[in-house]
């Protein structure tokens, strides 16, 4: 039984955690030292390397999709059928890739595939970092609002009320704290 559990944990680690770890390492590397990342990881003209960068971009877009679904659900705003931020990113990235290709062609011999290859990583990392920051900002805000509600609830209890239910609503998104005097 112990052996089977160990095998399952190893399988999960290799299947899920390792790719996430690799993805995060790439995002950090792209954000902190892009030149070194290009030197070490990008090989223009290599199809496998190109597909890897496309995979990185798809992973980043998927993260933005998940973050958007989670935020819409948590805040109770918008519909869960409308997380189209990924489509917006794709559509608005097309002119950048095309114009970069056209302008760089005058000064350096980069093919369209090379331009696409070089664009996948920074655009993907930007999408991921944006989603991560928005998520972090929302978590902080949740904690801050909950602590404000809790303090208000304590003040009401201190005024002699036996129990109270305090809510704070931002549009249709409400946080509630219920407290009863011991």
């Amino acid at each position: 039984l112990i052996g089977a559990t160990g095998a399952i944990i190893k399988f999960l680690r290799l299947t899920f955690l390792r790719p996430i770890e690799r993805f995060l390492a790439q995002v950090i590397s792209i954000s902190t030292d892009p030149a070194a990342f290009v030197r070490e990881r990008i090989r223009l003209g290599d199809t496998t390397n190109f597909l890897r960068s496309a995979g990185f971009f798809v992973s980043a877009i998927s993260t933005a999709f998940l973050a958007e679904v989670a935020t819409l659900y948590r805040l109770g705003i918008g519909n869960l059928t409308e997380p189209y931020y990924w489509a917006f990113i794709l559509l608005t990235s097309i002119p950048f890739v095309l114009l970069s290709f056209l302008s760089v062609r005058f000064v350096a011999p980069l093919s369209f595939k090379d331009v696409l290859h070089l664009s996948f990583h920074p655009i993907g990392a930007g999408v991921f970092v944006g989603a991560a920051f928005a998520w972090w900002h929302r978590l902080l805000l949740d904690r801050w609002l909950m602590s404000a509600i809790s303090q208000t609830s304590d003040l009401i209890l201190a005024s002699g009320v036996k129990s109270n239910r305090t809510s704070l609503c931002l549009s249709e998104f409400c946080l509630t704290a219920s407290k009863t005097k011991a």
């Binding site: 030197r39 189209y84 950048f96 350096a108 990392a125």
Partner: protein, 153 residues
């Protein structure tokens, strides 16, 4: 309320407008400050990473690195500006040419939305006034134009 109603109507009418609203993080702007600041965060960070894209291109070429960097940065500036202006223009055009903007329909939708909102508020008030009972739990909620009163034994 009318702004929100118009936006919801346009989203139901057109997928293009839904994508546009999603890109401009419209969901967050329905919230009150400071939570609505969140709407700027993702697009601004994504655009800032185009600077890193320029560094990527510069690092990938053998010669004329500063020139390549400048070209890609210029491409990023032009496309960001063009994207922004054309999307704003599309949004305005969509609002002007949509049946949602007609005064009568907008007023009806606005009234519907106000009624739904008032019903939700009423449900919250009724729920807050419900006393604890050992035999059953009472939950009051509002869904669209319906006020539901549920007893769970």
């Amino acid at each position: 309320v009318l702004k929100r109603v118009l936006s919801d109507c346009l989203k139901n009418e057109s997928l293009g407008f839904t994508v546009l609203a999603s890109g401009f993080q419209e969901a967050y702007t329905n919230l009150r400050p400071p939570v609505d600041d969140l709407s700027y965060l993702r697009p601004v960070i994504t655009v800032l990473y185009l600077f890193i894209a320029a560094r990527f291109f510069a690092a990938a070429v053998e010669r004329r690195k500063p020139l390549v960097f400048g070209m890609v940065l210029l491409a990023a500036l032009i496309t960001t500006g063009t994207n922004y202006l054309s999307l704003i223009a599309y949004g305005r055009w969509k609002i002007e040419h949509s049946s949602c903007a007609e005064e009568k329909q907008l007023a009806t939708l606005g009234l519907n939305r106000a009624a739904e909102s008032a019903l939700k508020e009423m449900a919250r008030g009724v729920q807050a006034g419900v006393k604890d009972n050992e035999v059953y739990d009472v939950s009051v909620g509002a869904e669209g134009h319906t006020l539901s009163y549920t007893d769970r034994f």
